[in-house]
Amino acid sequence: MDNERIDQIIDKHQGEASSLIQVLLEIQSENHWLPREALERVSQKLQVPFTRIQHIATFYKAFNLVPKGRHEIHICVGTACHVRGANRILETVEDLTGIKPGETDVEMKFSLETVNCLGCCALGPVIEINGKTHGKVSVSKTAGVLKSYE
């Protein structure tokens, strides 16, 4: 992401340090991850120590400091889904993709995250892939769901 675009986003929030998190969210949303250069630029323009930016970028889980895969898998591990067996689904997905939550596979095909409650408890257990919700998944059906993504 080029500096000009970053500057635009910062100016939109009146260059205020309190809007730091909102600025980073916008950069993350457009770029899908936060390169170090982007963080340095924000630190410079908002006159905020780099340590603070770095802490925020690592403290909040909405931010990724490494690029993501083509397909983002979110597995709901909220209490309702957990009680309906989400843990087994997570293990199955880990086995099938070879990655653990927070990781991206070597071919950059899948990125895996766990999320706490998508608000679709009636459909639990729930997997969300690229924003599409797959509800009432079972261990035996999971492989089929993943296969449909190139």
């Binding site: 969210l25 909040y60 209490t79 009680v83 998508l118």
Partner: protein
């Protein structure tokens, strides 16, 4: 869009809207909340619009995409007006029929109606369905009548009449008195008296004060605030404006978790619309009162639901809570007096102003007035969002409204209050729901999550689950929480894996005391609750795990083995084919055997064995029976 300059003009505008709307004109309301969207309501909605166009019926019937109706188990939901005909679990194929029925109003589509499980009769209207009949949907009910993206819809049902009443003739002190009289308690978890919180800020000498909406709903399994903010954002906004007026604040923030994109979208739209109408911003309804609101998104941290951490996040910092020695309604955001309340709390305010505190106090119990929205989820037949008066028993909520436990399973416990709460067992089911009652039982109200568990839920695993969640979400600043929960997580995980030892329970209790007494914030202080409540009511499960390496609920993976009952196996080969590690030995007509060395305990065989055989069993705490000898493995006679 016109600007409304006085309360009178708002009244007239409302009448104008109503005069242009024919209550008898057929209207198809389609639930378009996030959960129904996930069930396919977007396609259904598109289908309806297309069908209306195709049949040339745009003047005869309209479609209104509303927020969440609450009966999430049966979504997508359509309610046809007039007549309140309710259709459930709609698919795109059903659309043409539904449109025709809406216009003609003649033959109701039987197969899409709700069937009462006790009488087997079909029920036509929404309010007769047991799920809805036993609720008291004062706050949440409007969701079904309005398109959240339309401020006119909200005005039409009486929206903004409360702030109008306030600005037309109430002083801030009078507003405060009314809220105090109502005895409204915070709906986010703390249950603090709202009026008292407001009063503290009102009395603070600072000129700059803030009001904040906490929409960071982080309790997993709770999504009431999401449904309210998505489905009726103006109700929250109206409450906020009234609160700001009462305490003398001119600047407000709405902190919404970024995991709720539809809620963010709808509240932002609502703010823009309210500003255009003169209901927000400078000189609201010509009263001279200024109030502006900004939306801030969360960035993925449960701890930011804690009020001081939320304020720290609003300041653009990491969400580390602050000590509560100086209350945040005196020194909060930017060290100024700040009233932070939950979404549902704010949504109650317009009702209290419109109908009066006396009306409000008639509902509920001595210590808990009004209603509460719960997310009834987990092992329950009617999953969804329910609003009940305080004082209704857990039994009524779970059985009368929730329809009991599915699959013929037995109720075991209901977990309330999220990670800060506890599990309530069967013997307490007649507990009347209320703040103090739930706390007395070892749990708490929390934000309203109500997770039902059955005999297949392991209570030790439930404790482990919540502690694990909190070790992930802890901000890490203080030792009792960061290190204490770290160790509790290790010990509980070991217990569920069969590595528990004598003394573990006592050590967990010591760590619990340290966290409860010495943690910096409520996250750490309440973290031991799920452990302590499950220990209180289900100690036998802990002891079974530790002493016998047995999981009574047959859940903990390392403590169970899968075994095919040779008496029941009909050698259908289904599990043989599905086993991901080829651990099953078998052929047609030859009883299958699981090779325990190869088995990874994934549970696939258990899942896929046809119900009429139910041959795969789970065993815990004892050895797997020896395999049947080879000669006896052939099935003779009829099979399958």
């Amino acid at each position: 869009m016109i600007r409304l300059n006085t309360p009178e003009e708002l009244k007239k505008f409302r009448q104008e809207i109503l005069s242009k709307r024919d209550p008898n004109k057929p209207c198809i309301t389609l639930c378009s909340g996030s959960a129904c969207n996930a069930s396919g309501s977007e396609e259904v909605g598109a289908g309806i619009e297309e069908e209306i166009k195709k049949q040339g019926l745009s003047d005869e019937v309209e479609i209104r995409k509303t927020g969440c109706h609450g009966f999430c188990e049966r979504g997508p939901i359509i309610v046809n007006h007039p007549g309140e005909t309710t259709y459930l679990q709609i698919k795109p194929e059903d659309v043409p029929e539904i449109v025709s029925e809406a216009v003609n109003g003649k033959k109701v589509i039987d197969r899409l109606l709700y069937t009462d499980p006790e009488t087997d009769k079909k029920i036509v209207s929404e309010s007769e369905i047991p799920f809805y009949k036993n609720q008291k949907r004062l706050v949440f009910g409007s969701n079904g009548s309005i398109d959240p993206k339309s401020i006119d819809d909200y005005v039409a049902i009486g929206g903004y009449s409360a702030i109008s009443k306030v600005l037309a003739g109430m002083t801030p002190e009078e507003v405060l008195e009314e809220v105090k009289k109502s005895e409204l308690r915070g709906r986010g978890g703390g249950g603090f008296l709202t009026g008292r919180k407001w009063e503290g800020s009102r009395d603070a000498p600072e000129k700059i004060k803030y009001v904040i909406v906490n929409a960071d709903e982080g309790d997993p399994g709770a999504y009431m605030d999401r449904a309210l903010l998505e489905g009726n954002p103006h109700s929250v906004l109206e409450g906020l404006i009234i609160g700001a007026y009462a305490i003398g604040s001119h600047e407000g923030y709405i902190y919404v978790r970024q995991e709720y994109p539809l809620a963010v979208e709808n509240i932002n739209l609502a703010i823009r619309q309210a500003e255009q109408y003169g209901l927000l911003g400078k000189n609201i309804l010509g009263s001279g009162f200024d109030f502006a609101v900004k939306v801030h998104q969360g960035a993925g941290a449960f701890v930011c639901g804690e009020s001081t951490a939320l304020m720290t996040a609003l300041e653009g910092r990491v969400g580390e809570p602050r000590p509560k020695y100086v209350r945040s309604n005196i020194r909060g955001l930017w060290d100024k007096p700040s009233v932070l309340n939950n979404v549902e709390t704010w949504a109650n305010v317009p009702l209290i102003i419109n109908k009066g505190a006396d009306w409000f106090t008639q509902i509920g119990t001595e210590g808990s007035k009004g209603t509460k929205i719960f997310s009834l989820v987990g092992k329950i037949t009617n999953t969804g969002l329910v609003e009940v008066p305080m004082g209704m028993t857990l039994r009524d909520i779970i059985y009368k409204i929730g329809g009991g436990i599915p699959g013929g399973k037995k109720f075991k416990a209901v977990q309330t209050g999220g990670p800060s709460g506890g599990c309530i067992p069967e013997e307490q089911l007649d507990l009347e729901v209320g703040f103090d009652e739930l706390t007395g039982a070892g749990s708490m109200m929390g934000s309203g999550g109500m997770i039902v568990m059955d005999e297949a839920t392991c209570m030790v695993d439930v404790a482990r689950y919540f502690i694990n969640f909190l070790t992930d979400e802890s901000c890490g600043k203080c030792v009792p929480c960061r290190e204490g929960l770290r160790q509790m997580n290790k010990i509980l995980t070991n217990i569920t894996e069969g590595k528990g030892k004598e003394g573990d329970i006592e050590l967990l209790e010591v760590l619990s005391e340290t966290a409860m007494e010495a943690s910096l914030c409520a996250l750490g202080k309440s973290a031991p609750n799920p452990f302590l409540s499950t220990l209180r009511y289900f100690r036998d499960e802990y002891e079974a795990h530790i002493r016998e390496k047995r999981c009574p609920a047959l859940y903990c993976k390392e403590l169970i083995k899968y075994y095919i009952d040779p008496e029941k196996c009909r050698a259908c080969m289904i599990c043989f084919k599905k086993c991901p590690v080829d651990a099953i030995d078998g052929e047609k007509k030859k009883i299958h055997i699981i090779d325990q060395e190869k088995c990874t305990n994934c549970g696939t065989c258990f899942e896929v064995c046809p119900a009429r055989f139910s041959a795969v069993k789970k065993i815990s705490g004892g050895p797997v029976p020896s395999p049947v000898p080879e000669e006896e493995r052939m099935i003779t006679g009829s099979s399958n």
